[in-house]
Symmetry: C2
Subunit: 424 residues, 2 copies
């Protein structure tokens, strides 16, 4: 008998019919002889509707109360799911994050999991019950206040519970059949990736593939929890995210390209005419760090000897753009730069694959493919298993398709089906 | 400095605008120098919408899960209310029933409060914060599961918290200006009752006056908590429900009629031709008790000597009518009665007032008034401070108005304003 943790996003439980369909899938897993723990997000647009209500009441709602409000969403979906399962003749018990023992720090809206003490879940399983757990939420260790985990929170809840319960697999249900070599909406010939390592999945997630959140994959890697990403709308095998040692053929020293990811959510800031002195770059990024802005790529041009000045460009989430510009303008005189340039019409294309660093041909092929498609590369950044380039936003689709083709990733026939929206 | 517990029903927080208006009233109470604890119900129709969702998913949802679902409603309203107060520059913290220390038994859907341990509420007050508490909900002592208190639950939460915190007053906000001598929708000349004793208020509630629930008044009487029933739509003084010793003039031995209540929610069952043997009535009411049906009035006719049989009539909530008929039919042969008659087109009129038992004229005046209005009395029942009669449902309005007039309760001018719907 295996212990299976399943996570269903908001689109999988969007209405009563969806809830009943998911209940059938859960019962089927139970009937197949497994212990089942289910993590569920709020129904469809519930969270957006609650945020809208909060905005009607207060322009800047206290974070503690916003968390209290938003966690009502999972309370509704999990109770309905437990009812639907009971209606199929199986016992199900729903648990809030607090009841499930999801202990977090006190950062409302973006709490981190500190510990998971799933005693009540274990009891429920031991008594033959299916346990339904509210995703996205926990309880703070110090104040005992309700917290939410922020973006990707329900996926993280599922993996954290799987780790604490020593589950055999964590199934993440979504609206596509797994992780693909590129976004099927851009590259219809994208192929499903049967198995991918935690490291590559992390790079995919960091590079804009929205199917799994970074935190969830990090957590799974730390505790070595196999994740099975699959569709709640079909019975097809999806993508397994596992340790690289568990992927056949990976011991051979060849470059294996997993896929092409893209991200349209970033913006680029260029700090023009920075005096070429020791510590100037450090000051710039200290200012941004103090403003809690995550920087992605950084490029510093070679200093022009004639002026003693240089330009520093970096990318960041476009949603942080105005905050970053304001923070930098405050220290303009201190640093002595000339001006700031801001561009949010950019896109990032990333090629992800094991062993590419030791195969220079990969980089050459990637750049050539993009150049041959007539797309100009603005910035470049690399890691052991990833190469990213920044291009104009309008060129993203062209560049993704070109790179996908250049690495022979195109399938012979269309495999991907996109079933609906995406959950939290 | 006083400690004030305020309770706002669903109609008082029906939408964002209502929430903001209530927040202003709460802040005004705080600014006047009071410590404030607020108990709030779910917004407007939230509970009905959640029940509707549950019914879409399961015809008979498990009670534990239904409680988990319904408690999402107060979680939303209390968080929004805390936000609205924060927006007015005052600190407010919301607490679930469990966080507020409302400990109940395990009867889902109709849990009884066992204990209240409001440590977190006290801490919040000591730190200068306004405490917002979810009405209607608690946590079971044994299983730690979320429970709901059933009908009138939020009022009971408010009084229970007021008792545990030793509050100076429990203000129950509703959509009328207090308790009236009759329902103003039937008797426009009804008068607001400035002060009423717990006992009379209990009889009013038991007799169909919906403004305060029986449980809440019982709780307040046991712990001697003054209740101030008033409108959230006006600043007028409402009705104080207090110990009879605290009402001026009550030490004189005169009958004081508080008001005329009515109830259209009951039905009448007549068990026809019951053998006139010892224990037959006991068997009938044991069967009904086993089916968890609350009986109100009971009348047994004198046995007709010729047949050795008698008829037994009783009233009960019409919603329990079919269950009661089924339960009785099962024991038809055992008891040997001839048939059952069912009538849900009845209404109950009750006259409530202190000292009426020792003033026979009260009863005579009451019956005469109803008779003179051409209304036939079907059943009669009395207590120390109440006389109730059952009449045809269509005659209720006429009978109420006639009794109200006969006891000189009509005001010189219309006092009552009904502002909207009613909350939970």
């Amino acid at each position: 008998m295996a212990l299976v943790v399943q996570k269903y996003g908001g689109s999988s439980v969007a209405d009563a019919e969806c809830v009943k369909r998911v209940a059938q899938r859960i019962v089927a897993t139970k009937k197949a002889g497994n212990d089942v723990v289910v993590v569920v997000s709020a129904m469809g647009d519930t969270t957006d509707e609650l945020i809208d209500l909060a905005e009607q009441v207060s322009p800047l709602p206290p974070a503690r109360e916003l968390d209290m409000l938003l966690t009502a969403g999972e309370r509704i979906s999990m109770a309905l799911l437990a009812m639907a399962i009971a209606n199929l003749g199986h016992e199900a018990r729903s648990f809030t994050g607090s009841q499930a023992g999801v202990i977090t720090d006190g950062s409302h809206g973006k709490a981190r999991i500190i510990d998971v003490t799933p005693g009540r879940i274990r009891d429920a399983l031991n008594e033959g019950s299916i346990a339904i757990v509210a995703g996205f939420q926990g309880v703070s260790q110090d104040t005992k206040d309700i917290t939410t985990l922020g973006r990707g929170g329900s996926d993280t809840t599922a993996v954290a519970l799987a780790a604490a319960l020593n589950a055999d697999v964590c199934e993440i249900y979504t609206d596509v059949d797994g992780v693909f070599t590129a976004d099927p909406r851009i590259v219809p010939a994208a192929r499903r990736i049967p198995r991918i390592s935690y490291e590559e999945m992390l790079e995919m997630a960091a590079s804009g593939a929205k199917i799994l959140h970074l935190r969830c994959v990090e957590y799974a890697r730390r505790y070595n929890i196999p994740i099975h990403v699959r569709s709640s709308f079909s019975q097809k095998e999806g993508t397994w995210v596992v340790d690289s040692d568990d992927i056949e053929g990976r011991d051979m020293e060849q470059a294996i390209i997993s896929g092409v990811a893209h991200d349209r959510s970033e913006a680029k800031i260029t700090v023009v005419g920075v005096p070429d002195k020791v510590g100037e770059a450090a000051t710039i990024f200290r200012v941004l760090s103090d403003a809690e802005i995550n920087i992605d790529m950084i490029v510093q041009n070679v200093s022009a000897a004639s002026t003693g000045r240089t330009d520093i460009s970096f990318t960041l989430p476009a949603s942080d753009g105005q905050t970053a510009l304001a923070a930098l303008n405050k220290v303009k005189d201190e640093i002595g730069f000339e001006s700031l340039r801001y561009d949010d019409r950019i896109g990032k294309i990333s090629l992800i694959g094991a062993g590419m660093r030791s195969h220079p041909g990969v980089t050459a092929t990637f750049f050539s493919a993009i150049a041959d498609a007539g797309v100009n590369i603005e910035m470049i950044s690399t890691s052991e298993i990833r190469i990213s380039v920044v291009v104009a936003q309008d060129d993203v689709d062209t560049a993704v398709a070109a790179a996908h083709r250049a690495f022979d990733l195109d399938a012979d026939q269309v495999e991907a089906v996109v079933y609906g929206g995406t959950g939290r």
